[in-house]
C-alpha cells in the first residue's frame, strides 16, 4: 500500500499492525539529543522547529553524504531510547514515529489515546533505505551534527506498521 505524507486521520485509522507500506513525502529525523531539545521546547511552551500535524519523525542519525548523493546510509535506530520523550511529543501533536524495536506501555497508550502510529524500518539496512531518500536538508539543531533534525524527502520507503492506532503491535 502506498502512502503519502502528511498522514490523514483516515489513513492512520485504516492501517493495521503488520501492514506493509511504501511511504513517500517528508520525514523529519530526530534521535536522542534532538528529542531532549524537543522536550525542553514543549516544557517551556515554545514551538517545535516543524509543525507536528500529520508529520512523522524518523529515528535516525545518517552518515554524511558522499559526493553525488543527497545523504549517506540512513537506517533506523532503536526506538526504545525515545520512549521517555514520545508520550509528551504525541500530546503536543506528533502522530507518527518511524524506528525499530518495541515500545514501552506509555508510548503504546499515547498512540491509542491520540490515534497515532508507529512504523518500523528495517534495522541495519541503512544503505537500502538511504536510496529511498531523494532530498535532505537540516532544518534545526545543526550543531548536533548527525543528530540534527533533517527534513528528508522519501520516495516509496518500505516500512511496516509496528503499532497501529488501536495499540496492536507486531512485537511480542
Amino acid at each position: 500500500m502506498e502512502i503519502m505524507t502528511p498522514f490523514l486521520d483516515e489513513t492512520i485509522k485504516n492501517l493495521r499492525a503488520g501492514d506493509n507500506i511504501l511511504l513517500s513525502g517528508f520525514l523529519y529525523t530526530g534521535r536522542d539529543a534532538a528529542h531532549k531539545r524537543l522536550l525542553e521546547l514543549a516544557e517551556n511552551g515554545k514551538k517545535p522547529p516543524f509543525d507536528y500535524g500529520g508529520q512523522a519523525i524518523y529515528y535516525t542519525g545518517p552518515c554524511p553524504a558522499p559526493p553525488g548523493r543527497v545523504i549517506g546510509s540512513a537506517g533506523p535506530t532503536t526506538s526504545g531510547r525515545m520512549d521517555s520523550f514520545s508520550p509528551r511529543l504525541i500530546k503536543e501533536g506528533l502522530r507518527v514515529m518511524v524506528g525499530k524495536g518495541a515500545r514501552g506501555e506509555a508510548v503504546t497508550n499515547a498512540i491509542k489515546e491520540h490515534q497515532g502510529l508507529y512504523l518500523a524500518a528495517l534495522g541495519g539496512a541503512g544503505a537500502l533505505l538511504s536510496l529511498c531518500i531523494t532530498e535532505s536538508e537540516v532544518i534545526a539543531f545543526a550543531d548536533l551534527g548527525t543528530e540534527a533534525i533533517y527534513r528528508l524527502t522519501v520516495l516509496k520507503m518500505p516500512l511496516i506498521v509496528a503499532i497501529d492506532s488501536e495499540g496492536r503491535s507486531i512485537y511480542k
Binding site: G61, C63, S73, T78, G123, G126, K172
Partner: protein, 282 residues
C-alpha cells in the same frame, strides 16, 4: 638474540584506515553465506523477505560504496604484536589516526563522544577501544571491529555462582537474547564469554564474535553447547528484525577461560546481522 623487525607506525595507520573502510562497506562472506542459508531454510514468509532484503542491502552497500548501516560504530581494535617487532612511533596514536582518516574518507558517521557525561562529539570517531596482546614472531596482526550500539547496548554479564553451573549460564544467555528482542537487529551472532574475571568474560564475549560464522568450535564440549543454545534461541520466535520467524540468531560462539574456584562469570555480547570485522597481518 633474534633480529628485530622495524615497522613504521604509518603502516599501522594505513592498515587501520583500509580495514575500517572495508569493514563498513563490505559484509564478510561468512555472514553473507549464513544469511543466505537462513533465507533458504526460513519457513516464515515475512522473515524470508527480511533476510532477502538484508542480502540486498549488502549488495547495494558494496555497489554504491555506502556503509551497510548508518551506525558505523565505535571501533574496537585487537592488536597482536610479535615479540620481535619494534614499532617506530606511538601505536595507539597510529591506530586512532587510521580511524580518523578512514572515517573521513569513507563518509562514515562519527558516533564517538568525549565523555558519557559531557557528551560532545569528537567529530572523528576516535578514540578506539584497543586491546593489545603479544605473540612469538615478527608480525603484527590487527583486527578492526566497528560495533554499532543498537546491538552493543543489549549485551549483559553476570557473576554466577559455581552451583548455578552451565544450566544457570544457559538461562542467562537465553534471557539476554529474549529481553533484547528486536533492538539489536536480529538475526544475531551471539558472542559468549565464560570464565576469567568480570572484565575478562566481557572481553571474551567480544573476541568470540571474530570466529567465522558457521565454523565449528574447536572444543567439542563448547560446540555442543553452541548448537543447543542456538536451537533454543531460534525457538524464541523473535525472528529477523523482530517480526517473528525461525532465524533469531545465525550463530552462538563461545570462548572459555580458566576462572576462580568461587566463580562462574558469563558475558553475552550481541552482534547484529551486520557483524563487521576485518583482519590484516603486517
Amino acid at each position: 638474540m633474534n633480529d628485530i623487525r622495524i615497522v613504521d607506525a604509518k603502516k599501522i595507520t594505513e592498515t587501520v584506515r583500509d580495514l575500517c573502510i572495508k569493514a563498513n562497506l563490505c559484509l564478510n562472506d561468512d555472514v553473507r553465506q549464513a544469511l543466505f542459508n537462513a533465507s533458504l531454510s526460513e519457513e516464515n514468509q515475512t522473515a524470508k523477505k527480511v533476510l532477502n532484503l538484508l542480502l540486498e542491502n549488502a549488495k547495494l552497500a558494496e555497489v554504491n560504496q555506502l556503509p551497510l548501516c548508518q551506525d558505523t560504530g565505535m571501533v574496537i581494535v585487537f592488536v597482536t604484536i610479535g615479540e620481535n617487532v619494534h614499532v617506530t612511533g606511538n601505536i595507539s596514536a597510529a591506530i586512532n589516526e587510521g580511524i580518523r582518516v578512514g572515517y573521513r574518507k569513507g563518509y562514515f558517521r562519527n558516533s564517538v563522544i568525549d565523555s558519557p557525561l559531557s557528551r560532545n562529539n569528537t567529530n572523528d570517531n576516535t578514540p578506539a577501544v584497543i586491546h593489545y596482546d603479544f605473540a612469538p614472531g615478527d608480525e603484527i596482526k590487527i583486527t578492526v571491529m566497528p560495533k554499532g550500539f543498537g546491538s552493543e547496548n543489549m549485551g549483559n554479564m553476570k557473576m554466577l555462582n559455581p552451583a548455578d553451573g552451565i544450566a544457570g549460564a544457559e538461562e542467562f544467555i537465553i534471557e539476554t537474547v529474549k529481553k533484547a528482542g528486536a533492538n539489536p537487529c536480529p538475526p544475531l551472532i551471539v558472542g559468549v564469554g565464560l570464565g576469567g574475571t568480570m572484565e575478562k568474560a566481557a572481553l571474551l564475549s567480544k573476541q568470540a564474535l571474530i570466529r567465522a560464522v558457521g565454523s565449528p568450535n574447536p572444543d567439542p564440549v563448547l560446540n555442543e553447547l553452541e548448537e543447543r543454545f542456538l536451537r533454543r534461541i531460534n525457538q524464541l520466535d523473535i525472528g529477523p528484525a523482530g517480526y517473528g520467524g525461525l532465524t533469531t540468531a545465525l550463530a552462538v560462539q563461545i570462548v572459555s577461560y580458566p576462572t576462580h574456584i568461587a566463580g562462574f562469570p558469563v558475558a553475552v555480547n550481541t552482534a547484529c546481522h551486520a557483524l563487521r570485522h576485518r583482519t590484516e597481518i603486517i
